[in-house]
C-alpha cells in the first residue's frame, strides 16, 4: 500500500472539520451530538494511524479507552437531552436561552 500516514491524517483532519462545522451550523441538539461523535471518530482515526506507522501499541490502547469514554458520554448526554426536552418541550438550541438574559 503506497498510502502513507499523511493521507490518513488528512482524512482525519477533514472528518474533524466536517464534524466541527456541523456543531456550529446545526440547531438540533441531537444532530450536534452526532457531529461530536464524528469528531471523536476523526481523533481516534489519527491515533490509530500514528500507532500503525510508528509501530507502537499505545495509540491502539488509547483508542480502546476513548471508545469506552465515548459510550459513557453518549448515554449521559442523551439522558440530559431527554430531561431537557421534558422540562422545556424543545431541543432546538435557539430556544434554550435561559442564561442569555
Amino acid at each position: 500500500m503506497t498510502v502513507g500516514l499523511n493521507e490518513f491524517l488528512a482524512i482525519s483532519g477533514l472528518l474533524f472539520a466536517i464534524g466541527f462545522t456541523g456543531v456550529l451550523l446545526r440547531r438540533n441538539t441531537l444532530v450536534i451530538y452526532m457531529c461530536l461523535e464524528i469528531m471523536l471518530s476523526a481523533a481516534i482515526l489519527a491515533l490509530v494511524g500514528f500507532s500503525r506507522f510508528n509501530n507502537t501499541m499505545d495509540g491502539n490502547i488509547f483508542v480502546f479507552f476513548i471508545i469506552t469514554v465515548a459510550a459513557a458520554e453518549v448515554a449521559v448526554g442523551l439522558a440530559i437531552i431527554v430531561a431537557l426536552f421534558r422540562h422545556r418541550q424543545t431541543i432546538q438550541v435557539e430556544d434554550l436561552n435561559t442564561l442569555k438574559n
Binding site: 482524512i11 466536517i18 462545522t21 456550529l24 451550523l25 441531537l30 452526532m34 490509530v48 509501530n55 465515548a70
Partner: protein, 173 residues
C-alpha cells in the same frame, strides 16, 4: 487494490459525514452516521487494527446510533426543518472549516510525519495482535482499565438519577 480501497473508504466516510451535517431529518442524519462509522472501521482494517474495527462497529453502530434513534423517536421533534441557520452561524462555521482545511493542506505536501528513530511499520501490523491488547491492558494499563470500568458505573448511576429525579418532581406537581 489497497490504494483504491483507501480512497473509496475515505470518500464514503467524508461523503456520509457531510450528509450527517446536511440532512434535514435527524433520522437520516443517524443513518448516515452509521455509514460514517462503518467507513472509519474500514480504514481501521486497512491500518491493521482489526480489533478496534470490530469494537467501532459494535459500540458506535450497534449501541450509540441505536440509542440516538431511540431518543429521536422518543422526543419526536418535528420543528427541525423550519429553523434556518443564521448568517452569523453560517459564516462562523465556514470560517472554522476553512481554517481546519488550511491546517490539513499545510502538512499534506510536506514530509512524512513518522518518527524515524522508532521502528518502522512492519509487514504484520502490531495492532492486529489481539494477544498484545490483553497483555497490555492487564499489565501496563491495569489502573486505567479499572478507572474506565468505574466511569461506566458512574455514568450508569448518573443516567438513572437524571431520569428518576424528574419522575419524583412530576409526582409532586
Amino acid at each position: 487494490m489497497l490504494d483504491f480501497l483507501f480512497y473509496f473508504l475515505a470518500a464514503l466516510t467524508l461523503g456520509s459525514a457531510f450528509m450527517v451535517v446536511a440532512s434535514r431529518n435527524a433520522v437520516n442524519a443517524a443513518m448516515f452516521l452509521i455509514v460514517t462509522v462503518a467507513g472509519v472501521a474500514g480504514l481501521f482494517v486497512l491500518l491493521g487494527a482489526y480489533f478496534l474495527a470490530v469494537l467501532q462497529i459494535l459500540v458506535y453502530a450497534g449501541a450509540v446510533v441505536v440509542l440516538f434513534l431511540f431518543v429521536i423517536m422518543l422526543l419526536d421533534d418535528g420543528g427541525e426543518a423550519k429553523v434556518k441557520p443564521t448568517a452569523v452561524s453560517i459564516g462562523a462555521s465556514l470560517a472554522a472549516f476553512m481554517l481546519l482545511l488550511l491546517g490539513v493542506l499545510s502538512f499534506l505536501g510536506g514530509p512524512e510525519l513518522v518518527d524515524t528513530g522508532a521502528a518502522q511499520a512492519t509487514e504484520t501490523p502490531i495492532g492486529a495482535n489481539l494477544q498484545e491488547y490483553g497483555r497490555q491492558l492487564f499489565s501496563v494499563y491495569l489502573l486505567p482499565v479499572q478507572v474506565a470500568g468505574f466511569l461506566l458505573l458512574i455514568a450508569m448511576i448518573g443516567v438513572i438519577l437524571i431520569s428518576k429525579r424528574h419522575q419524583e418532581e412530576a409526582l409532586e406537581e
